[in-house]
């Protein structure tokens, strides 16, 4: 191939790349744009003009206030925090202890226990729904924050333990032996050596778990009934009426609900990327 032809080919490839990438981004962003536009329209405008991606004529920011107060989003968001924070903290605390043991202790059933954790991860929700509902009823913890938190923690344990164990496995074993010689107990080694070293993976996991638990609809649906303790996803589902749905308020509520996970993601983004690629190369 001549030099000119090759540079033309390169230019064509670059153009093709940018066109495709732009199209993909547009498709990806369209629902978000529609959501933002809808949240700023009046119901009249939505009904009068069904073209969803048309920008609003006038910006009705008061939709957000209405969603927060009248539609109860404020209460739902607070509830979701009450559920999400202890769930994430609990899952991380318990799974990091389990991961520590699985990564560093040599015992007969080590592999078997790990496989059990992974297998637990693979059981589909549909199979667990009814047993979990009956179990929580039987224990009298249904329709309570505590019950939901407990189930969130237990269902996240499999993945969290697997994830953290694999990360900790990359920490050299001498990081256990050196403090042991220095006189540290195993819990001290966990708390003061291994946890600080595993921090990137903990942070990455915290972001993932926060988003998952925050956005969970199904377990809340199964375990919560009272409106006073409902989480955002249930609240949003509630806003779909049988005869009329206030699309603008639902959209505004959705945006409000998305703020927390987005903020958490941005705050921990650095660790997130570091954590997921950790171990890809030694350095």
């Amino acid at each position: 191939m001549t030099k000119v032809a090759s540079s033309r080919w390169r230019a064509f490839r670059a153009a093709a790349f940018y066109v495709t990438a732009t199209l993909l981004v547009a498709v990806w962003l369209l629902p978000l744009v529609i959501g933002v536009f809808t949240s700023l329209k009046s119901m009249d405008e939505i009904m009068a003009n069904p073209v969803m991606w048309k920008p609003p004529k006038a910006l009705r920011f008061e939709n957000f206030g209405e969603a927060w107060n009248r539609a109860g989003m404020g209460r739902y968001i607070v509830n979701t925090f009450i559920v999400t924070i202890p769930s994430v903290a609990g899952a991380l605390a318990v799974s990091s202890l389990a991961a520590f043991a699985l990564a560093f202790y040599r015992f007969r059933l080590n592999k078997a226990v790990l496989v059990l954790f992974v297998a637990g991860m693979l059981v589909p929700f549909q199979m667990l729904m009814i047993p979990v509902f009956r179990m929580s009823n039987g224990l009298g913890i249904d329709d309570s924050f505590g019950g939901l938190i407990l189930f969130h923690i237990s269902f996240q344990l499999g993945f969290c333990t697997f994830f953290l164990r694999n990360f900790m496995k990359q920490i050299p074993y001498s990081q256990i032996e050196a403090p042991r010689i220095d006189g540290a107990s195993d819990f001290t080694i966990y708390a003061r050596i291994i946890m600080p070293l595993a921090l990137p993976s903990i942070a990455a996991l915290a972001v993932l778990e926060f988003t998952w638990i925050w956005n969970d609809l199904l377990w809340s649906l199964v375990l919560l009934r009272s409106d006073a303790i409902k989480t955002v996803t249930l609240g949003l589902a509630n806003m779909q009426g049988e005869f009329i749905t206030t699309y603008n308020l639902t959209a505004a509520g959705s945006i409000l609900a998305a703020i927390a996970p987005v903020a958490v993601f941005l705050a921990f983004q650095r660790y997130f990327i570091e954590g997921l690629t950790m171990g890809a190369d030694k350095g």
């Binding site: 050299p172 001498s174 990081q175 032996e177 050196a178 403090p179 010689i181 540290a184 050596i193």
Partner: protein, 373 residues
């Protein structure tokens, strides 16, 4: 201060893999004992059993007369320097050194005093605020040593601490560790596969092979009185030459016949070689004991050989030569002008020669397994 005794110590790993077999070693107070041997000989496993990082399968381990087989490492009052340093990457140098003391609830002022003292000894005072990542290999090594000395333990354990350093730094750190031993007056156990480190550092050497202790003694004793062919070949660089010779009893006079040359052993050696008359033995001679024969004869006889390679090292020449069948290496003074292909005659120092049984590989001359025992 501290005496460490290994009595019939053995280690068997899962799957019936034997790493250490019936080790009997006594390490006296203030000794610098080096465990040396090729990789896989069980020296590190032995050290790790002393540290408490490996369970002891059989035998007894005593520190200061107290049985410590089942005592966890933290209660054995030992400190260890690891091969890969094993510094805590998220802590500063200061915190790395202070960690063990903090765990033991030593008062803050005392910790500070000890850390700064250790830093001064090791010349790392300026690095106290840095993290391990910001240090060179040699500096990390110093911190690892510092972490051990602040604890002021009964016994120091070193697991191939210099093997990750470059050659020049290794020589320097070697001297510093020797100096440290003199200064701290501590009991030290040091593992290495490098026989030069063993020779230069140890007050006592333990040579191991295939999980078995071969011989125990001072470096010079080992060098001059190796118990078997393995120890003889392992200690010393370049290694001892082994030439297969036939022992002849010619009317009461013992002669060693190689085919291309004949030698007369030293009188006390001849008596011990007499029972081997008619059989072959390994004649061991150190490279420096192959002296170039200036005249035409020597009382013990001459080895005639052909020069193959000449390596002038400046202060001396390493000269490789071969008889029609057997190669050897000699260390000769630098003024000799030999080149490849030349004929050469050596007058071996027969007093220093060693003899080994061809089958058992054991020394035919009497030697102690444990010099001090």
């Amino acid at each position: 201060m501290a005496k460490v005794e290994l009595k019939n110590i053995g280690k068997v790993y899962e799957g019936n893999v034997r790493a250490v077999d019936n080790a009997n070693i006594t390490i006296n107070d203030k000794e610098f004992v080096v465990f040396v041997g090729p990789s896989g000989c069980g020296k590190s496993t032995t050290l790790r059993m002393i540290a408490g990082l490996e369970d002891i399968t059989e035998g007894e381990l005593l520190i200061d007369g107290k049985l410590v087989n089942d005592v966890p490492p933290k209660d054995r009052d030992i400190a260890m320097v690891f091969q890969n340093y094993a510094l805590y990457p998220h802590m500063t140098v200061y915190d790395n050194m202070a960690f063990g003391l903090k765990i033991r609830k030593v008062p803050k002022a005392e910790i500070d005093k000890r850390v700064r003292e250790a830093a001064r000894i090791l010349d790392i005072e300026k690095l106290l605020d840095r993290r391990p990542k910001q240090l060179s290999g040699g500096q990390r090594q110093r911190v690892a040593v510092g972490r051990a000395i602040v604890r002021n333990p009964k016994v120091f354990l070193f697991d191939e601490p210099l093997s990750n350093l470059d050659a020049k730094l290794r020589v320097q750190m070697r001297a510093e560790i020797i100096e440290l031993h003199d200064r701290l007056d501590a009991t030290m156990i040091y593992v290495t596969h490098d026989q030069i480190e063993a020779m230069t550092m140890g007050t006592k050497i333990v040579v191991m092979r295939d999980g078995k202790v071969q011989q125990i003694g001072s470096p010079l004793y080992m060098y001059n009185h190796p118990i078997n062919k393995f120890v003889a070949g392992f200690i010393g660089s370049p290694p001892m030459n082994f030439l297969t010779v036939k022992v002849l009893d010619e009317g009461g006079e013992i002669i060693l016949d190689e085919g291309s040359f004949r030698l007369k052993p030293a009188a006390d050696h001849a008596a011990l070689l007499k029972p081997y008359a008619g059989r072959e033995v390994s004649f061991g001679i150190r490279p420096e004991d192959l002296v170039v024969a200036e005249g035409g004869s020597a009382p013990g006889g001459l080895i005639k050989a052909k020069v193959t390679v000449v390596e002038p090292l400046g202060a001396e020449i390493q000269l490789y030569a071969t008889t029609p069948t057997q190669p050897m290496v000699a260390k000769i003074p630098p003024h000799h002008l030999y080149k490849s292909g030349d004929e050469i005659a050596f007058a071996p120092v027969m007093d220093k020669a060693r003899y080994f049984d061809r089958e058992t590989e054991l020394s035919i001359l009497p030697v102690k397994f444990d010099e001090q025992a």
